[in-house]
């Protein structure tokens, strides 16, 4: 087959139908970028974590040891424990309370990104999806004690140490600070960026996390003698990666609070540490080699991966949903546009055959005519997709301390290959069909088709008491049912995206509001921040109670016993968060997934992780060991809380427990009372010995990042949908350009023409709205429930049922908006088209 005439025919065809070629180019760019973005987001969650392990040459496990239980020689001898391949440490560590100014909503400063972070990004540790879900793997792990994330609490302006100005506050953060002379070590390298490792006194390095003070910022170690101030000189490592901060040995000595137990960090790599079971066995071997009580707790690389796995688990369901919508839309509009473009050229195909082109040459020419702009669009789309997706990958990347991630190379190859195949098929099928037609039939097929459809619609529409351009436009889609169905599908996907995004906006905001582990009371009055005490004294409790009775605006009060001692246990559950309240606590508003909040003695509520770990359900009995006593309770409700296995019950249920005391009082306000004013007034009443603060969410950055991702994905889908409508209406308008000339010759004004074309998309838009609303509600519910499943936390009903009828009506109008936006350009073209040119077209 001679290629010369084919290439000439194809390139001439592209020049002749330049507008169509540009449309193909634009659609394929958008579709390719959308496909690349969707697939990359779906597959990226593990890339960053694996890259992080490679970059940081990290340890498998970090073990906190009690130095009073083992000598240095005994610790060094663990190098010989079977399975241990490398050891580093001991690096002395201590828990300290840092205070710094609340930061604006952005992740670690100086590092690129701002991508989405799930609740785990704040330091919480939902179960890593990489870990087996069976409870047995945890039973051999008594040292894996409960480890709360660094607590972030904001005090309002005017409080001791509070900054002035509206919205600014001080953050108190309890962190494990490690004494380490250099970032490099025999086992791991802490990658420091930006900034540098401490070079002298008064300097500290922190890991990147939401709300961290910037490099150059100041933190006050309020738990240290003299409350010294340190300068943050750099970020190191990655969030959750075996340390909450590092200082030089000389600094550490000065900071360590008096009377704190001597603890240290030991880092290990093992021959086998690929899953939780193996790691548990490794720890068991270590413990066996050390004196009893030496191993206080440990963290593994699985927990670090869990930080981002949980974050990506949180976002994976809606990324998947939007990616599917985007891919389907991309396929739909590419097929519709490319095959429509080939069909529009049928008449020319007949002419080519008439002058001697063989059927194969004709088919090849028309595949090439569609392929030239499509190939350019694919190349540009890969570039555009990479530009689009790289910022979205930066959130997990910066948390793990690796450079910005990109779409993997295999996706950069697979997506264009897939898109080329799609375009090729979409063009080949009609082109091969036309190639086989006799010339005269191809010419006849290329004329504006009179399918016989739509006549009844026009008759009916003519009877409507509406302007004639409107009724003609409304009836037009019925003449081409297949194309109208494609237009409907494009609008439908766009509308589903908009409606689902609105629901996700509400759900995610609610989920992040549910998140804080401090409980959900508005105000908390209790132990001042920085105090080594964990509970209020009896006198302080009485003082607070009296003040609350006297303080106007106090509506509800619950005593919070957040320091339940280790003597309170559940058999078989080692990492347990047990929360007890005194007084009525039902007003706190813990989000319920099932059952009810406890209302009587011997009732408890549990979160999903607890129920999964124990195999219990709502309604089952539960035995709590309180010292030597056994308390039989009943699980009456399932609570949404992604903070590890957790229980809630009344103080009365636990009975007398040595060491149990009130940590703070949770206060609910009367309607209309300002939390800031109430807090300030109560602070003045109570004086400096009692800390009063608003139980802050501290979730602004995480919420903003996740919602920004939802918004970006929605905008992509809506743009793609509008492009689909545009291409469909453009093809339809060009097909009927002769009719357009007739209308104009009879006196249809440009404005009437614009209205007529836009009205063509109303029937499919209305149909799309009717389908989109229930479809989006369903998809939203599935997505949000899946978030709960993947984060192992379940999902509260309040985060699932978020749509209100008036809102839904408004959201349904998005289909009309998408349709109108997509139809505007072809309508404008039709309105501006020269009548004489249109009349000459056939």
């Amino acid at each position: 087959m001679s290629g010369g005439p084919v290439v000439k025919a194809a390139s001439a065809g592209v020049r002749r139908r330049l507008a169509q070629a540009l449309m193909t180019f634009a659609v394929v760019i958008a579709a390719t970028a959308a496909a690349l973005t969707g697939i990359t987001l779906l597959t990226s969650s593990n890339e960053a974590a694996q890259n992080s392990n490679t970059v940081h040459h990290g340890a498998d496990v970090s073990v906190t040891v009690n130095e009073s239980r083992a000598t240095s020689a005994e610790l060094a001898a663990t190098r010989s424990v079977p399975g241990v391949t490398q050891v580093a440490g001991p690096y002395p560590e201590a828990t300290m309370t840092l205070r710094f100014s609340a930061q604006p909503s952005s992740p670690a400063h100086g590092r690129p990104g701002g991508g989405p972070v799930g609740p785990a990004g704040l330091g919480g540790r939902p179960r890593s999806p990489a870990a087996p879900a069976d409870s047995k793997s945890r039973q051999g792990n008594p040292a894996h004690g409960p480890r709360r994330p660094p607590r972030l609490v904001t005090s309002p302006p005017g409080q001791p140490g509070g900054a002035s100005g509206p919205g600014s506050g001080q953050v108190y953060s309890v962190r494990t600070i490690i004494d380490r002379a250099s970032p490099g070590g025999p086992l791991d390298d802490l990658y420091v960026y930006p900034g540098h490792w401490p070079a002298g006194p008064g300097q500290i390095v922190l890991p990147p996390y939401e709300g961290a003070p910037p490099v150059g910022g100041k933190v006050t170690v309020v738990s240290a003698p003299g409350k010294p101030q340190l300068t943050v000189v750099g970020y190191a490592g990655a969030a959750g990666r075996f340390g909450d901060g590092w200082v030089l040995p000389s600094e550490f000595t000065a900071l360590r609070p008096a009377g704190t137990p001597a603890r240290a960090q030991m880092l290990y790599t093992f021959a086998h540490a690929g899953n939780l079971r193996q790691i548990s066995a490794d720890i068991a071997a270590l413990k066996a080699a050390l004196p009893a009580g030496t191993v206080a707790s440990y963290d593994s690389w699985l927990d670090a991966m869990g930080q981002t796995s949980a974050g990506s688990s949180f976002s994976t369901p809606f990324v998947l949903a939007f990616a599917m919508l985007g891919l389907l839309l991309a396929v739909l509009i590419v097929v519709s546009l490319v095959s429509g473009a080939v069909v529009a050229g049928f008449r020319r195909i007949g002419v080519l055959k008439g002058i001697g082109f063989t059927p194969l040459q004709v088919s090849a020419a028309y595949v090439a005519q569609a392929g030239i702009p499509a190939a350019a669009g694919i190349v540009a789309g890969v570039a555009a997709g990479n530009l689009w997706v790289t910022p979205m990958l930066s959130g997990p990347a910066q948390l793990l301390g690796v450079s910005a991630q990109h779409a993997p190379a295999w996706i950069d190859l697979a997506v264009p290959a897939g898109m080329a195949l799609l375009v090729g098929l979409a063009a080949s099928v009609p082109a091969l069909h036309a190639g086989r037609l006799p010339a005269i039939q191809a010419i006849a097929a290329g004329q504006a088709p009179r399918t016989g459809h739509g006549y009844a619609a026009h008759r009916l529409a003519a009877k409507l008491a509406l302007p004639r351009p409107v009724t003609i436009g409304l009836a037009a889609p019925f003449a081409r049912p297949a194309r109208t169905a494609a237009t409907l599908a494009a609008i439908l996907f766009g509308a589903i995206a908009v409606i689902m995004a609105a629901g996700l906006n509400t759900s995610i905001s609610k989920i992040y509001t549910y998140y804080p582990a401090q409980g959900l009371g508005q105000i908390a009055a209790g132990v001042p921040k920085g105090s080594p005490r964990l509970a209020l004294t009896g006198a302080q409790s009485r003082q607070i109670q009296a003040a609350l009775r006297a303080q106007p605006g106090t509506a509800h009060v619950a005593a919070d016993y957040d320091n339940v001692p280790g003597s309170v246990r559940i058999a078989g559950v080692t990492a347990l968060n047990l929360q007890a309240y005194g007084g009525n606590s039902s007003w706190l508003g813990w989000p319920m997934i099932a059952g009810t909040w406890y209302t009587a003695r011997d009732q408890v509520d549990a979160n999903t992780e607890f129920l999964n770990e124990t195999g219990l359900h709502v309604g089952d009995p539960l035995t709590i060991d309180v010292g030597r006593r056994r308390v039989i309770t009943r699980i009456v409700g399932q609570v949404y809380d992604p903070n590890g296995p957790s229980l809630w019950t009344s103080r009365q249920t636990l009975g007398t427990v040595p060491g149990l005391g009130v940590t703070d009082y949770r206060i609910g306000l009367e309607p209309g009372f300002s939390p800031q004013r109430y807090t300030a007034a109560l602070s003045r009443r109570l004086g400096p010995g009692i800390g009063v603060h608003i139980a802050s969410e501290g979730t602004g950055a995480a919420t903003a990042g996740t919602l920004a991702l939802v918004r970006a994905l929605t905008e992509l889908i809506v743009a793609l949908a509008a492009l689909g409508v545009l291409s469909s209406v453009l093809i339809a308008t060009r097909e009927r350009v002769h009719d357009l000339g007739i209308f104009k010759s009879l006196g249809m004004t440009p404005r009437q023409t614009l209205i007529m074309v836009i009205c063509q998309v109303i029937p499919p838009a209305v149909a799309a709205a009717l389908i989109a609303v229930p479809a989006a509600i369903y998809l939203h519910a599935v997505t949000v429930r899946e978030i709960g499943t993947l984060t192992d936390s379940g999902m509260a009903a309040g985060a699932i049922s978020v749509y209100q009828p008036p809102e839904l009506i408004l959201l349904a109008l998005s289909s009309l908006a998408i349709a109108a936006i997509g139809a505007l350009l072809p309508a404008s073209w039709a309105a501006a088209a020269k009548t004489t040119t249109a009349l000459r077209a056939e």
Binding site: H458, A462, R468, A479, F743, S745, L746, M748, Q752
Partner: protein, 248 residues
């Protein structure tokens, strides 16, 4: 009334109409970019109310271009066209469309009917676009269909009619708004002899009733039968006009 008075009214103004002159074309030229010579070159002519004028000439002489300019479908590159005192070259697209609705009825060689609409809906369309009251428009359309002998096809679709019947539908559509000007571009070009003669007779009857008619045709017989005046164009110029335009 002189052209100077008309010119003084400005491009957007209305000219005082000359007695019984409905259409005035003054030094109109039309050039298309990229094509060699002008499609029309300084054409001037007047057409009085009630006249039947045939415009003849070889292919490419500018006949259809002249008709398109008179219909307001296109604009001259130079010169002035006035219909019932309204200057066409100054009209916006919207005003030109409104002018076509009110003042012009067009009949095309290949009918240009809308196949999705019934015969009645085709005829009604100009009236609906002009905002004529529904009942009034329907009555007028029914009357025209009856007068042209095709009332029985009101609910049929154009695709099922013969060429002659389709052209009658097109004539009815062109007349529904009682236009001042009826423009016919090769109205019998796609018809057989019998139908062509029947259509020709219809046009004569309309003209006899006072309808001003401008007819573009290749057929000398049709021109001789249907027109009282024949203007010949060659290469965009008027080469023969029994009554040249005023001002020459």
């Amino acid at each position: 009334m002189s052209d100077q008075v008309c010119a003084a009214a400005g491009r957007s103004g209305r000219c005082p109409p000359q007695a019984d002159v409905l259409l005035s074309v003054r030094e109109v030229s039309k050039r298309y970019p990229g094509l060699g010579g002008p499609a029309l070159d300084a054409v001037s002519l007047d057409i009085r109310r009630g006249e039947a004028v045939a415009v003849m000439g070889p292919s490419g002489s500018g006949k259809s271009t002249l008709l398109n300019l008179i219909a307001g479908l296109d604009r001259p590159t130079a010169g002035m066209i006035t219909v019932a005192g309204e200057r066409l070259e100054a009209l916006s697209e919207t005003r030109a469309a409104i002018y076509r609705r009110r003042s012009v009825g067009m009949i095309f060689q290949f009918f240009n009917l809308l196949d999705d609409l019934t015969v009645a809906d085709n005829v009604l369309l100009p009236a609906q676009l002009a905002g004529v009251r529904r009942s009034q428009a329907r009555a007028r359309a029914a009357g025209l269909l009856a007068r042209l002998g095709i009332a029985q096809y009101a609910n049929s679709y154009p695709g099922r009619l013969s060429g002659g019947e389709r052209q009658r539908v097109a004539i009815a559509r062109a007349l529904v708004n009682s236009p001042a000007l009826l423009l016919a571009d090769e109205p019998t070009g796609a018809l057989d002899t019998a139908n062509g003669e029947a259509i020709g007779q219809m046009l004569r009857d309309l003209n006899a009733g006072g309808q001003t008619l401008i007819l573009v045709t290749h057929s000398p017989d049709l021109a001789a039968r249907d027109a009282s005046r024949i203007i010949r164009l060659t290469d965009g110029r008027v080469v023969a006009d029994p009554r040249p335009g005023a001002g020459r």
